[in-house]
Symmetry: C2
Amino acid sequence: MPRDEMVAFAAEFDPQPMHLDEAAARATMLGGLCASGWFACCILMRMCAEGFVLDSSSMGAPGVDEVRWLVPIRPGDQLTLRATVLDTRLSRSRQDMGFVRFNFDLFNQRDQHVVALTTSMMMGRRAGATGSA
Amino acid sequence: MPRDEMVAFAAEFDPQPMHLDEAAARATMLGGLCASGWFACCILMRMCAEGFVLDSSSMGAPGVDEVRWLVPIRPGDQLTLRATVLDTRLSRSRQDMGFVRFNFDLFNQRDQHVVALTTSMMMGRRAGATGSA
C-alpha cells in the first residue's frame, strides 16, 4: 500500500487529518497515518476484480451488508484477500440470475485481520440451470 | 457526476464493463454506463467531509452497517446528500468519545433515491460532558 496512493486518494475523497498528514495523524486515536476505510474498500474491490470477478458471470451487487475496519492500514502494508462463499440463492425475479453471498477479508503482512466485508453479488447462471443455485 | 471521473475511477478500482464502456454497458442489466457503487460511496464520503465532518470532532468510523445501491448513477447526474442522525450513545471504553449513527442518502436530479448508507461515526465529546451523549 504505497503512501502516495493512500494520501492522494484521501485528498480526493476523504481528507481527514489521519489520512493526509503524518504529524496530524500522530495526534489522533489512530496514532499515525493510515488509509481511508474507503480506500481499503476500493483496493478490496480491485483485488476481487483481478482475482475472479472479471472472469465470472458477475452482474454487479445491490449493495454491501457490512464493512468492519478492524486494524488501521499503514503505508507499506501488504494486503492479502480471502474470499469465502457464505451461501447462494436463486433470484425470485430472474431465472438467469442468482445471488452469491461472500465474506471478503483483508489481512496484512503480520496476518492481522484488517477489513471484513460481507456482500451479495448477482451472478449469471449456466444456461439451462434449474433448481437451487 | 462527470463521465471521465466515473470511468477513470472504474479503470483503477472496479473495471467491470458496465462502469467502463458505454457499448458494453448497454448489454448489461444496467442498460448503460453507470458509476461503480464504490465511486458513489467515495463521492458520498467527500460530500460528508465538505458538508460537516471536517468541521466536527469526528474521530473516524469503525465501519459501515449497510450500503444499498438503489438506482444506477449515470454520467451527468447531479447528486444531493441528506444526513439523518438515527441515534447517539457513549463509548464504553472512552469517556471523551461517543458514537453517532447516521443514515446518509443520495438523491439524483430527478429526486430518485440512489444510495442509502448507514454508519456510526466516532465523535469527540465536549470537555466536561457527562451522562448520555
